[in-house]
């Protein structure tokens, strides 16, 4: 049974990528909706299995860890698999209505979409350093292809920039992998972690970890390496932007976090952890400020991603040489932040796409008067904004509450200032858009009204992000011990 669930996760996205390659956009939509159904069921099934039986390792091809590639299926991994299933199906559904089916090149949307999905699943479950590199490249190249699809000069410039940044990040990561292999002779993360626990931190591996984390931070767009993100996320089509902001940047962060939690205690240092946390805080402040200053609606949302990503990097200082309980709190807070930001940001980008579609312009001023005629999309946008502002009872609030407790518990009170400032600043940019849309215009309804299904999807996502705060107990309990060994088979 588990075997087939694993197969569903790893191979159906790949199979669907090939199937949709052979169809045109309209047929691809039907094929995709079937695939989405399968993926959601399989992800849910695996999640339930893990919730019941606990995690396990899965050796592909019947070969176990040092020689073969092992997958690590634990509570955290399946939670992210499930998050991917929710967000990606919402984006796929939205894209099926949103994207013009008559343009010949849009038929390539679906294969790229499915390859992206399979890359994400490969990364969440990956337990092998080199395999994660291939998974990252799978994600990056399909994301770049999606940004560039049918784009004009500006979109191509953004995608080229994105591609070069992503390739540089992957190479830095790969160099770290090369050093670790030279050091330990093994590529399995769990194997290297065990070896590290036995040996005192050997010379040379510090640089390996630094290279890997730096490369992955570049791919996650940590300040000051974030400059490729806003153009790419701002100019892509809205369902693509939603996928990129909600899921793609999280994949590289997830690997960085796994590496830090496995290796950081032995080869990390207090200064490095504080530095990463400082950069994350700078991202929160600077990203929010830039989001406030943007003139284009989607640029606001894109810079807001830079800010929200900053919070994630507080994981590094809050788990370094602190007590087990504080570390667990920080990990849970970060996990909730990943989930709630994923849901909220996808909702925000999809709603922004609807708004832009209705007013026919991407500028914020153009939103004037839209509140009377498109309350639905605006409402979803606002709900998602509430989660970003971290007001109770949203998932964003619970996440920041846990981080707050972890900061105080570890004696690193200075992060509290960041958490508070970030919430206030995000309120500023969300309200700015609200104010623009509530400005009265004398004219009557001059807006294009998108199909109802386009408006429902972001609403569902925003409600989920809201509800996450109420259901966070259940979500966190399934992850039981996040990032921990969940019982080898």
């Amino acid at each position: 049974m588990t075997l087939w669930l694993m197969a569903g996760l790893l191979f159906t996205p790949l199979a669907w990528a090939v199937l949709t390659l052979l169809t045109d956009f309209r047929w691809g939509r039907w094929v995709t909706s079937f695939g989405i159904l399968v993926q959601v069921l399989v992800s849910l099934g695996l999640w339930l299995t893990i919730a019941r039986d606990g995690g396990f390792y899965y050796g592909l091809g019947g070969w176990d860890a040092p020689l073969g590639i092992e997958l690590r299926v634990d509570g955290l991994a399946v939670t992210f698999v499930l998050l991917t299933a929710v967000v990606a199906s919402a984006c796929g559904w939205h894209a099926g209505v949103y994207i013009d089916p008559d343009k010949a090149w849009h038929r390539y949307f679906w294969p790229l979409f499915w390859f992206l999905w399979s890359g994400l699943n490969a990364v969440w479950l990956g337990g092998d350093l080199f395999n994660l590199y291939v998974g990252l490249e799978l994600i990056s190249l399909s994301a770049v292809g999606l940004v560039a699809l049918g784009g004009k000069a500006a979109a191509l410039r953004a995608s080229l920039r994105y591609l070069l940044a992503a390739l540089l990040g992957s190479l830095a990561y790969l160099l770290g992998v090369a050093l670790l292999y030279g050091q330990f002779g093994s590529l399995s993360i769990a194997g290297v972690a065990t070896l590290l626990a036995d040996n005192p931190a050997p010379a040379g591996s510090g640089l390996a970890l630094a290279l890997m984390v730096t490369g992955l931070s570049l791919k996650t767009a940590l300040f000051p390496l974030h400059q490729w993100l806003p153009p790419a996320h701002g100019i892509a089509k809205s369902p693509v932007s939603a996928l990129l902001s909600a899921l793609v940047v999280k994949a590289s962060f997830y690997i960085a976090a796994r590496l830090w939690l496995e290796f950081g205690a032995t080869i990390g240092s207090f200064a490095a952890a504080q530095l990463v946390g400082l950069l994350g805080s700078a991202a929160v402040v600077w990203g929010s400020w830039l989001a406030f200053r943007q003139q284009q609606l989607k640029q606001v949302v894109a810079y807001s991603s830079v800010a929200q990503i900053g919070y994630l990097f507080l994981l590094f200082p809050l788990t370094y040489s602190v007590s087990e309980a504080v570390s667990l709190q920080a990990q849970q807070g970060i996990t909730l932040q990943v989930i709630s930001h994923g849901l909220a940001k996808a909702a925000m980008f999809l709603a922004a796409g609807n708004l832009i579609l209705s007013v026919g312009s991407g500028r914020i001023e153009a939103l004037a008067g839209v509140s009377r005629f498109l309350p639905f999309s605006l409402f979803s946008f606002g709900l998602a904004g509430v989660s970003l502002m971290s007001l109770p009872p949203t998932g964003g609030f619970t996440a920041k509450w846990l981080l707050l407790q972890a900061s105080l518990g570890s004696g690193q009170w200075w992060w509290v200032a960041v958490l508070l400032a970030g919430g206030l600043l995000s309120a500023a940019y969300v309200f700015r858009i609200y104010r623009a849309s509530f400005l009265e215009r004398p004219e009557t309804d001059r807006f294009y009204h998108p199909p109802r299904s386009l408006e429902v999807i972001p609403l569902i996502l925003a409600l989920l992000s809201l509800g996450l705060g109420l259901a966070s107990e259940q979500v966190l309990s399934v992850m039981a011990l996040p990032f921990e060994e969940a019982g080898a088979p």
């Binding site: 694993m6 197969a7 790893l10 191979f11 790949l14 199979a15 990528a17 090939v18 390659l21 052979l22 899965y58 050796g59 592909l60 091809g61 019947g62 070969w63 040092p66 020689l67 073969g68 590639i69 010949a104 090149w105 390539y108 294969p111 390859f115 399979s118 890359g119 490969a122 395999n131 291939v134 998974g135 799978l138 190249l141 399909s142 292809g145 049918g150 784009g151 004009k152 050093l179 030279g182 050091q183 330990f184 002779g185 093994s186 070896l195 040996n199 050997p202 010379a203 040379g204 591996s205 640089l207 100019i235 089509k237 809205s238 832009i356 026919g360 312009s361 991407g362 500028r363 153009a366």
Partner: protein
Amino acid sequence: MMAGWVRTLITTLLCLTLSGALAASIWAIAGNPTPVDLPRLLSENMDRSGVAHPVTAVLLNFRSYDTLLEIGVLVIAGIAGISMAKTASLEDPELRTSDTLLYALQRWFVPLMLVLAGYLLWAGAERPGGAFQAGAVVAATGVLMRLGGIPMDFLRPGLLLRLGLGLGFSVFLVVAVASAIGGEAFLAYPPGLTKALIVVIESVLTLSIAMVLLALFVSAPVNDAEDPEEGGPA
């Protein structure tokens, strides 16, 4: 805004420091023995891998999941490439040359290179060689043919090209799933069939790799297809 030379200086220093630190780390790591002896583990398991050449065994048996995903990366690049190609045909008459030297070369080279590709593919099981090298040689042959003006109608971005792009990948996938029905895990080839399956996979992969690389080469000339930006002038 920093002045150009300041940024150049900073970048130079950064790169020099990095290279130095890297060299120091390599030197330090090289001094210690590795705790895991993976090459020995590999040679102990070679007789179960179905092929005699260790690199092929790693690529197509021990770490076949890497290879599967890697072909995925290649196919993605191919898809993104042809999504920007001239929509009617990938044939570009301007590129044809009437060079007699090239024409003469090609009459000798094309069959020779195809034979070479076949040899590389066949040798892969025992000696250096295999699907990637063979695929690259086939692609190079295609580039040569194209430069020589031999029409290649199958390279229209039609169903045939897309079928070719997906073929190697699909066969690999089918084998992966089929092996799970009979065996105990994905990508675990049933014993006895290992060699045959690896050869089949390698052959179709050669074709697909060549097709992707050729499509990317041929699709580099671009079309005028473009979307208006969201919210921009239609």
